[in-house]
């Protein structure tokens, strides 16, 4: 580029707009070319206040730490003891979130079961129903009861170790599901009772109940059918966590699963993923507050999800009052999703490792979010299960390391007082002081 024009006047530096960024412009061009909104998998990619904005203080003179490897730091959790005669006993407070068979291949679901079982935790079905390989390889399996009721049947319901009534998902509070035609194999079509190759829209509301009063009756029906044996969870998106938690508990839930906006999805409109819902950091305290106001904290368990990646995230979630967490995206990455070893294939799909999110297209080079037999064959469920087990163990060890440093002999003993925030936003959302101060925005009695 010439630095001066023909008359010798200098050019200004070309300036990109902060409003019309290259990303935005590519979205506009895509929309103009296709006439349909962008659908993708994964969670919110924008930067939002998160657990990264919190730090543990660790021990000091006023608090003493526990000795690593010598003094025990327990990790077990019991979920659903309030109404169920057979609550779920987990060795670690990290569960595998519901991901549909259809979105994931059969072997990927098997691997999730293998890994979770080996690490002493539960896994969860998803839209599309329960597959035998998943039930067979999961020592504790939570059965999702979704608006679409695809594949829902009482025989599978009775095989479940817990039931999760799905009201919403963090990636799309108020949205239904979507499984596009290209992923509808014979097996998926049969389980869902629909013709092969058509787009499957899952409803956003349950077909036979609306509102908290109906939910209470629905829970009663599910308990009657399963003889009051298994816990009933209610999964809600992070939208109005105080009220949703209150209403779920009043309706009789044994556990509340709360999913923030970073939470992954198999396929949703990008605009929905990025612009609806609350960050995971912002939803924990209101939900815990609701449980405390009802006298139900630690009696009804709170399972938090949406962007949980490490033992630090687990410890922070628990310090803010959650009883356990659930992971979706991180589990898929542990299995091999978005691995740079497939980089040349990601490039062929117009993307790069780490950014691949067109899971709905069924062409996953890693063979996880696909129903294509050739791609599926690339994925070994035994190896996948081993990797997931390793990852879950590492997260647990990491959380224990932090808890011991804070002097805690159980992860549940972590508390908000162990935390500080790096930003004003995080301080306000987590209700913990800004680092080096005693204050957070909204702190009672401070007038701000």
């Amino acid at each position: 580029m010439n630095s001066h024009d023909s008359k010798g006047i200098p050019h200004t530096t070309p300036r990109q707009s902060a409003t019309f960024t290259q990303d935005v412009n590519s979205d506009i061009r895509r929309a103009a070319a296709t006439g349909i909104y962008d659908i993708r998998g994964g969670g919110a990619k924008r930067k939002v206040p998160s657990f990264d904005d919190l730090l543990f203080m660790g021990a000091s003179i006023s608090r003493y730490p526990l000795e690593g490897y010598r003094e025990k730091c327990e990790t077990s959790v019991t979920i659903g003891g309030l109404h169920a005669s057979n609550p779920i006993e987990l060795d670690i407070p990290i569960t595998i979130a519901g991901m549909s068979f259809g979105a994931l291949s059969g072997p990927a679901k098997e691997a999730l079961g293998r890994g979770a079982s080996a690490a002493g935790t539960s896994t969860t079905t998803g839209d599309g129903g329960m597959t035998p390989e998943e039930r067979g390889h999961s020592s504790k399996l939570v059965y999702q009861y979704l608006p679409s009721r695809y594949g829902m049947n009482p025989n599978d319901l009775r095989k479940a170790d817990a039931i999760e009534i799905v009201v919403g998902q963090g990636a799309k509070p108020g949205g239904g599901g979507m499984l596009l035609g290209q992923k509808i194999s014979d097996r998926v079509a049969e389980m869902r009772n629909l013709p092969k190759g058509i787009d499957q829209r899952s409803a956003c509301r349950h077909p036979d109940w609306t509102g908290p009063d109906d939910l209470e009756i629905k829970i009663l029906e599910l308990r009657e059918i399963t003889g009051w044996k298994v816990p009933i969870y209610v999964k809600v998106a992070g939208a109005r966590p105080y009220y949703d938690t209150t209403l779920a508990v009043k309706a009789g839930a044994d556990a509340v699963v709360l999913d923030g906006m970073q939470g992954g999805t198999a396929a949703t409109q990008d605009v929905f993923i990025e612009h609806v819902g609350l960050p995971t950091l912002a939803i924990v305290r209101p939900a815990v507050q609701a449980l405390q106001d009802l006298g139900m904290h630690r009696k009804v368990q709170l399972i938090l999800s949406g962007g949980i990646r490490s033992g630090a995230d687990v410890a922070k979630a628990m310090a803010l009052g959650a009883d356990a967490v659930a992971i979706g995206t991180a589990a898929l990455i542990a299995l091999g999703d978005n691995d740079p070893k497939w980089e040349s294939e990601y490039n062929k799909l117009g993307t790069t490792a780490g950014a691949y999110d067109d899971w709905h297209e069924g062409m996953d080079p890693a063979g996880i979010t696909t129903q294509d037999p050739d791609l599926m064959a690339r994925f070994d469920p035994i190896e996948g299960g081993r990797r997931l087990k390793n990852y879950l163990k590492v997260m647990t060890l990491e959380a224990q390391t932090i808890a011991r440093a804070c002097g805690k002999n159980h992860l549940h003993n972590l508390e908000p007082e162990d935390l500080v925030a790096l930003t004003m936003e995080a301080a306000a959302m987590a209700r913990v002081p800004l680092a080096g101060t005693e204050w957070y925005p909204g702190k009672p009695g401070t007038g701000y």
Binding site: N153, P154, D208, E221
Partner: protein, 227 residues
């Protein structure tokens, strides 16, 4: 006949007793008295037994039914027979909304009228209503048959897939992608067998068939207005 008094022994005991009946039970005839509109009566049954509820029921009576025949000698609340897999439910009176929602198989017969969202998201169940049905019935219906001897309300079969609807009277309006279809001999035969099974005397030739135009099966921007 074995009698269970719901007011006396409570819902849990009523359902636990019925659930305890094995495939080969010889106690096949049961009645439940004093239902008084209670919810979740006789849900989750899975044995070839016949249960008669003497009175009206609340939500989800006979929900997820398998094998059993459940007669409701009264009117039935919302979500009756939801997700029915097999067996038969007969309602002497009227049925509230969401009748047979997501039902996979079996048959539901209503002698009176059924309210809105009858057969919503049906996945194989056969529903026969002697009277009328309300709005948004068979919304997203996937498969199975809905037979209406009276009239249908607004938006019948909205966004339906392969479910079939047979209506004798008027249809206030059809939902998105639901259209009138030709009644071929195989449909007349099917309808006759459904009416026979339901024990309803009606002439199949007086009915009109409706079903999916299949225009919304794969997203097309030119149909965006219908989504």
């Amino acid at each position: 006949m074995q009698t269970l008094d719901l007011q006396e022994i409570g819902l849990r005991e009523v359902n636990a007793t019925l659930h305890a009946q094995a495939e080969n039970t010889n106690q096949t005839a049961w009645e439940i008295v004093n239902p008084k509109g209670a919810h979740a009566i006789a849900c989750g049954l899975d044995a070839p037994i016949e249960v008669t509820v003497r009175g009206s029921t609340g939500y989800y009576c006979a929900g997820m039914n398998q094998q059993a025949t459940v007669n409701i000698a009264g009117s039935a609340g919302p979500g009756t027979g939801e997700n029915i897999m097999s067996g038969k439910i007969v309602i002497e009176g009227d049925a509230s909304q969401y009748l047979g929602a997501t039902g996979h198989g079996g048959m539901i017969v209503v002698k009176g009228n059924a309210s809105s969202r009858c057969g919503i998201s049906m996945k194989g169940v056969n529903i026969v209503v002697q009277g009328n049905i309300g709005h948004m019935s068979a919304f997203m219906g996937q498969s199975g048959n809905l037979v209406v001897c009276g009239d249908a309300g607004d938006a019948l079969g909205d966004s339906c897939y392969e479910a079939r609807f047979f209506v004798r009277g008027s249809v206030k309006s059809l939902g998105a992608d639901c259209v009138k279809k030709e009644m071929r001999p195989e449909h007349l035969e099917l309808l006759k067998s459904l009416l026979d099974e339901a024990g309803i005397d009606a002439d199949p030739s007086e009915f009109t068939r409706y079903g999916s135009a299949r225009n919304l099966y794969n997203f097309d921007v030119d149909n965006a207005g219908a989504y």
